[in-house]
Symmetry: C2
């Protein structure tokens, strides 16, 4: 790599709060993480949100033209707008001018652009989107993949997700021996549809993953598993459900607890404890989902990403680069390919 | 029907806390709901948990031999143990000696027994398990089906679930014009896999359901939908995940709120409000899941059902009988069949 520090290409135009929140989070990452930031977008708009007299060290503005709208069909839009911010950001990775890319824009477009510009890693049939969830055990997280890239998954794809997830869990999340679960409707190996049963067997036979068996819906947040693989349909439903459920329960608490005079008094007294409760339940700022399996580090942020999420996403990207996630996935997959040939 | 009040056959041997909690809940239902209770199981065990001098009006003990264990393969076990409690309870419905059945035992066995003993309703290819979830809106619930009976679903099955769910929502849950959603990974009609796209179209074309479009994971508990259809794989994952999340959050509340002297005081004052909060979040309040599409009213309870859940499940069963759910599903399906022929 040409420079001494990690370089992150940022799609400054992607997201509901772009460019302001994106740029703010990116600048903080430059300060605190020492990464080089390449802000991709409309220079005028980006400059308008930069604080006055911003130091331009480790900061570059890379012009792009237009962005993919949330309502656009991703593949078509990515093809029709070669100079859109997401494409230019991906190109920076392709040209080795950046080590990773972050976008909080249209996630389908980010995926399409990554596939078209970077391509898949050898040995990977389908890239997957991985999301990190908090668990019941405060110190443990669980990586769930796929949460939306592939609506239909063959057992082979799920096996590849398990290998990629294990690498990420081990080298980025720091889990020593990541336990992999297969999301299913029962613990027994025979449970689920045909694909689930076959996947279970393939994971049992795969000596590159530590397969801990089927994970039911109730096990997802238990902390018993470090990586859970599933198809992108159920994963996406689960991710969006989980995001909503925390907010809903906080709202129910807000509605029910202060009812009546006694309720108001009780809540006033409990104010500090309620605040702590909210902090624990607010879905932790994980920053973004990872697109695993393309030939580049890509972090996809939530459309509503604010500066702290952007910062956390860039930290994720840096950790993935620092820990050579791509190289490790490739070496796992090369041994996989050798085996199957 | 032979008797003037609703008669419920209770699998007194099914469930982790059987027969004690099952019988206690059933007796309360007899008192408060005026239903006739047929307790199916080992008479000695049942009698040992009946309070002394129990009035035997509207109460009958129907002997059975053995029960299906949680570890048994359901279909085999149900066939090999014709006199097990679940089978005898189903037979009571088949023989019109009972109007509905409740079991908190092996849910697969209950389903297998219902299929073998009662059969499917005409026009229904696959029965579905429906579960009622609370929503963000205190006065609204959402019925989700299938939550586990069918791991693979053809669009036609999902369409039938939508019709059955609408009937249940309207006539038992009292929703005037139940809005049906199709669980999917995006709002647009074109989202999801092939089956999802085709189901979307079928539901749009079906004038027996009010189709409100695709429901994403985040919409499940929003209160925007009264019925959500999905295949039993994703539904089961969602149900178990939701149950676990509720418990996890109640646990966090229990840990955080009473901390410190102020916390204890505040919680004492808030006791009634906390109780209401728990009720809104607790799945026990919903009693059980319904097996829709078999020729009989079947309510399947959680394995860990305690007396209040049993009571609520029996109330669900009574409401389904009172509101002629089976007859209404059949009349819908007959018109469906006429159309397709």
């Amino acid at each position: 790599m040409g420079s001494t520090c990690v370089r992150i290409a940022i799609d400054a135009m992607g997201g509901d709060l772009a460019p302001k929140e994106i740029v703010t989070g990116a600048l903080r990452a430059r300060e605190e993480l020492g990464v080089e930031i390449l802000l991709v977008g409309d220079p005028e708009q980006i400059e308008s949100v930069l604080p006055p007299k911003t130091n331009m060290a480790l900061l570059e503005i890379v012009p792009s033209e237009g962005a993919v709208g949330m309502e656009e069909e991703p593949l078509t839009a990515v093809r029709r707008k070669p100079k859109s911010s997401i494409n230019v950001a991906m190109d920076l990775v392709k040209q080795k001018r950046a080590d990773a890319v972050f976008s909080a824009g249209h996630s389908g477009a980010a995926m399409a652009s990554a596939l078209l510009r970077l391509g898949r890693l050898p040995g990977i049939d389908r890239p997957a989107i991985g999301a990190v969830f908090p668990t019941m055990i405060a110190s443990k997280q669980v990586l769930i993949l796929d949460v939306g890239a592939n609506v239909d998954c063959r057992p082979k794809f799920l096996e590849q997700f398990a290998v990629m997830g294990s690498v990420y869990s081990q080298y980025v999340l720091g889990v020593n021996e990541p336990k992999v679960g297969l999301l299913n409707i029962g613990e027994e190996d025979s449970k689920g549809n045909d694909a689930a049963v076959r996947t279970n067997q393939m994971l049992r036979d795969n000596n590159r993953v530590i397969f801990a068996g089927n994970a039911e819906g109730r096990d997802v947040l238990s902390g018993d598993f470090d990586v859970i693989v599933c198809d992108g349909f159920v994963g996406n439903v689960l991710l969006k459900f989980a995001e909503a459920v925390g907010e809903i329960i906080l709202q129910i608490i807000r509605e029910e607890l202060p009812q009546g005079l006694q309720g108001q008094l009780g809540c006033a007294i409990l104010k500090p404890n309620l605040k702590r409760l909210k902090q624990r339940m607010d879905h932790a700022e994980h920053g973004g989902a990872l697109l695993l399996g393309v030939d580049g580090i890509c972090i996809i942020g939530h459309g509503s990403s604010q500066a702290p999420s952007v910062f956390n996403a860039i930290r994720m990207a840096k950790e993935a680069v620092d820990n050579q996630v791509l190289q490790r996935i490739q070496s796992q997959d090369q041994s996989l390919q050798r085996e199957s040939s």
